[in-house]
Symmetry: C2
Subunit: 657 residues, 2 copies
């Protein structure tokens, strides 16, 4: 039974599980927990006392695994929907005891093979016994090669002690490898690197009563965490005796819901629930007399989790729209080389916030240009370059009306299909006397007069990446010396992120080109490792004599020390544009234009993720390169390690002029 109804929420976190001990009566175990309100059971599939080497019949013929009866006791649908297998926790593949190691390898392979036979969706791998567990990872990696659908969830505690401030290089590495690991993320990172980032290898986090720092928690949001196992002793007790969670835990679980982690309740009840409540609950089940199900003692914990789930704000319209785009890679547009389709214009024209910002900016520019006294005498020449189907023409005319300033508008558009729509709009609205449509590329138009104000919207997610600078350079020929460009400037921003999902998606193409391409993505399951930093700025009109649209920047990101070590999969890119004066369009995360949806961020991947030891900083270099027919970016990391320069000569990704 899902935790509750939340409009638009299709995430896995609606389902809550419960951890159980081995039972030789699996149907009863399942019924007991499903009627108790849980959606699935996390339970061992094999008798925990089984040891391969002690098995009486270890010749291959007469052998039968010590499982809870046969696969027939549940239907295939029950196994796959309601059971997550729990691999025996005695397994220790990195033991110094060779016999135990051998037994562990045999048992692990047998248990996963059995779980796979049952078609359960996932198996929980026991917590590694040591920090670096090469043999465990090697064995899991071998198993992963043969798994078709099943996921393996590596169980890890959510913990991280703070490192000593001035730990030396050697001390840090030594502690890292002596098995006294104090950061479970390090354990995870080493495990997944050994397993080559396999996309069926995931994480289940054990949540205890104490939590590490917020920065260190954040790292997990970029990792493939599937479940958060809340132990009963992690709960507090409220005034009425019921379980509840601390404020920090509440905040965490809300984040988990948002990131689609599934909650699992584990342990025995440590709360004495008042009698009447218990009775009520038994009544709910509607069972009477002999064989009445025993009340599920963990139900109060489930009810509290459900309460937290239901308490969340509903998804906004924008969030619901964006839900299907979350962490989904899209190739950036090539608006200069390709003509946009009607559907694309349709979508973007709906972004009312964007056009109202333009209207405000144009209005302000008009009133700055012409004083109230001059209003009736002067007429401004306003050119909309890249007019599309006309939304900026409309914004211009509305601004003109709002400001009480007269304008003459040229609408320049290179896409002949859009020009058709533009003409009919003008006819429909009766703007023929004010607006002249020019079907021409702004870079080669011979304008009959010069403009006072140039209005354009040629911005990409990374500001200049759709070649706004090159287009406006072409249009500058027909701007008056003291003319205004709207936008007057724009700056791109970058920040390093952890994003296992996107990295695996990019890698799945198995070619270099995809690893060196920037993508437009609604970023969601990511960890932002540092505040953004400005990258390239373009100002219009740019009047310096040696102006060039090539750019080169070195960035240094400081990773918060209490975050611990991290892995950078690439960079999220954003822009902030100054339309005019203090009127911005921005998708920079610290000051986005509210409810504007025209731009998702851009994502620049790294071919190999870069490991950042705790307390280190990340040096990055970015280039914007220009050739006669194309513009492209190159990028690299130079510290703490050095990567290759990505996308050399724009071999994988470029924007055509």
């Amino acid at each position: 039974m899902p935790l509750g109804q939340r409009a638009g929420d299709k995430g896995d976190s609606r389902y809550c599980g419960v951890e159980a001990d081995f039972s030789d009566d699996m149907p009863h175990l399942l019924t007991h927990n499903l009627t108790g309100g849980f959606d699935f059971v996390l339970a061992p599939l094999v008798d925990p006392s089984y040891r391969p080497s002690l098995s009486t019949n270890n010749g291959s013929e007469g052998f039968a695994l010590s499982v809870a009866a046969s696969d027939l006791i549940l239907s295939p649908a029950q196994w796959s929907s309601h059971v997550v297998g729990k691999i025996s926790s005695w397994i220790d593949l990195d033991s110094d005891d060779e016999a135990l190691r051998m037994d562990s390898e045999t048992a692990l392979k047998q248990e996963i093979s059995w779980a796979s036979h049952l078609s359960v969706q996932a198996c929980l791998l026991p917590l590694p016994k040591k920090g670096v567990c090469g043999n465990y990872a090697r064995c899991v990696n071998q198993i992963l090669q043969g798994l078709t659908n099943m996921q393996l969830w590596l169980r890890l505690p959510l913990e991280k002690s703070s490192p000593t401030e001035n730990e030396s290089f050697d001390a840090r590495y030594d502690s890292l490898h002596s098995g006294i690991l104090n950061d479970s993320w390090e354990m995870w990172n080493s495990f997944r690197l050994l397993c080559e980032h396999h996309n069926q290898l995931c994480v289940a986090l054990d949540i205890q009563s104490s939590l590490p720092s917020v920065d260190s928690l954040l790292r997990w949001f970029g990792e493939p965490v599937r479940a958060a196992i809340f132990h009963t002793h992690a709960f507090l007790t409220n005034a009425r005796g019921y379980p509840c969670l601390s404020k920090r835990h509440q905040k965490l679980i809300t984040a988990f819901f948002d990131f689609s982690f599934q909650i699992v309740i584990s342990g025995t009840s440590v709360h004495k629930i008042p009698q009447e409540r218990s009775d009520l609950s038994a009544g709910d089940n509607g069972s009477l007399g002999e064989g009445a199900p025993v009340r599920n003692e963990l139900k109060p914990y489930l009810e509290y989790v459900a309460y937290l789930y239901q308490r969340m704000d509903p998804l906004s319209e924008q969030e619901r729209f964006e839900l299907n785009y979350r962490d989904f890679l899209q190739a950036p547009l090539q608006p200069l080389m390709d003509n946009l389709e009607a559907q694309t214009y349709e979508t973007f024209e709906k972004d009312t916030v964007k056009y109202s910002q333009y209207q405000r900016a144009i209005c302000k520019a008009l009133t700055d240009k012409i004083s109230d006294e001059q209003a009736s005498l002067s007429k401004m020449v306003l050119m909309v370059v890249g007019a599309g189907r006309g939304p900026l023409v409309r914004a211009s005319l509305q601004a003109s009306e709002e400001a009480g300033r007269k304008v003459k508008v040229y609408a320049v558009e290179k896409n002949p299909n859009a020009v058709v729509t533009l003409h009919s709009l003008i006819k429909l609205e009766g703007w023929e006397s004010v607006v002249t449509v020019i079907s021409c590329d702004m870079r080669c138009w011979v304008a009959p007069e010069k403009a006072d104000i140039l209005v354009s919207e040629l911005l990409g997610s990374f500001g200049d990446n759709e070649l706004s600078p090159e287009c406006l350079d072409g249009a500058l020929r027909f701007l008056k010396p003291n003319g205004i460009s709207i936008p007057s400037s724009y700056t791109s921003y970058l920040q390093p992120i952890t994003t296992t999902k996107l990295y695996n998606d990019v890698k799945s193409h198995k070619d270099l080109a995809h690893m060196e391409t920037a993508y437009v993505v609604k970023l969601h399951k990511i960890a932002r490792l540092a505040p953004t930093q400005p990258v390239f700025t373009f100002v219009h009109p740019e009047i310096s004599p040696n102006r060039s649209n090539q750019r080169y920047v070195k960035l240094r990101f400081e990773i918060p020390r209490d975050m611990g070590s991290t892995l950078v999969h690439g960079f999220a890119g954003y822009f902030d544009a100054v339309l005019y004066g203090d009127i911005h369009l921005s998708i920079e995360p610290s000051r986005p234009t509210p409810t504007m949806f025209s731009w998702f961020p851009i994502f620049f991947p790294l071919r190999e993720p870069v490991y950042l030891p705790a307390g280190s900083h990340l040096n990055v270099e970015f280039w914007r390169c220009c050739a006669p027919a194309k513009v492209w970016y190159e990028w690299c990391v130079t510290s703490p390690t050095t990567t290759s320069v990505h996308n050399v000569n724009g071999r994988s990704y470029w924007v055509g002029l």
Copy 2:
């Protein structure tokens, strides 16, 4: 004129160059130096005062590069054989001055384009002005993509100051990136990583009068160093006033010769050569009167280098044989699945040292088994398993004769083609009464009696890699309980190495399989980063009840602190086998069996090279995995960084049973 004749030496280091200043009379410059005895000139191709931004005609039409006249002044053969271009040293792509940076990029591209037009074989890139030179590397990387044959030699000083012993992690990284780099290897490493290990990017080392530690020098032998530029002030003066080198420099230059680095003399003469010698030299040139060439003032330095070259020991017969195999990847044999060819038997049978070791071992085993008193009464049953064309049968009979012990020999061989030769050998030698030929795989032979001594030679470069353990397990059925196996044990060894050449060769296949395969290689241009460590040991007969041929080992290599940072491209593998008692066969580098040539080392590559910061250690894990039809290795690095487990499930490389 080469430095001298050394039988078999085909290396580039026979040719010596000279560094020269820009001259607008290139033919004269060349003649002057070639008649002076040098083989090539390292000289600027463009006037060093040229700056693109100051060029009067920087529109593209009227532009002409300030070069020393046209390409016609020398013949194409002269340009390509006798000139290495020297890129202007004012170039600084990482300057804070944007104008200088832009000029540098333009000039670098123009000069290399010009050099490429002239078909010179290489250009020398000026020393980076800063430790981390991202923009320089980015620009060179762009250029490299378009170069067909020409090499680019990055000029670097051969220097490394010792780091403070207990430098902290942060301090180390900070100093690394603040531009105050004290180890030119770091500069090189960062540069080549940015350029993605491009195989036309090489190194030219500037040799000064002081040298860094031996360990730190060694690192360069795994790098693509093409030239060592000896400055005249690096030379000492001998009693007669002539230039000479310190003992350390002499040793270094001899190593350079061995590794085919080309020597270049640079600078002005700082030695006053006595008059009579000078006259003699002029006489040699046989020039008289007007236009007589000016004596080359650097000739005494060249003569001293030639003297050092000629003083070297000639290449031994074995070295000459191995010359063509140096750093050449060979797929390991599959002797169990495939039958060897006659040519292969022919080659291996020539290894007399190997068979004399076998003969000694068998002789010793026979005398240990049978006392002198028993000699005439007893007859030992000796089985040669994997007899091939008979060399071990011969060794056995010679040992029997030498020891004065009687033997009955079974020669078991699975290759029916080799059995033909074996039969004719026995007939030819008249061994019919002593030797019985069995045409059968030892793993399934039903022996008519049991053996006292089992003789086999199933070893690969890594000991067990040709499945000697599995074969001998099969043969153990017919060994008497107190029987002897020759070899009685063998152990594999590993050591981390730097080997740019092999890494690039492996990578050139552009697939995963080649990156996870072990190769047999005559290792030459490598840097050995630590002493070898034992890996897997097999003992025969092995009588423990739970014996398995699976193995797992964790190794920790300590990299000498004074070596500085390094890059590991993979691991060199060797073996040491105990034939009997103290008689070994070994290719382990610290105690190889002299003049034995049957085995080259094995090379296990890493998919991505691992950077080792100075003073760090390297943790490696190796597995020997067994399945019914195949045996394979898996391997990974777990410190200082973690790699994926290579060759999971033997997907890329395995040996068939």
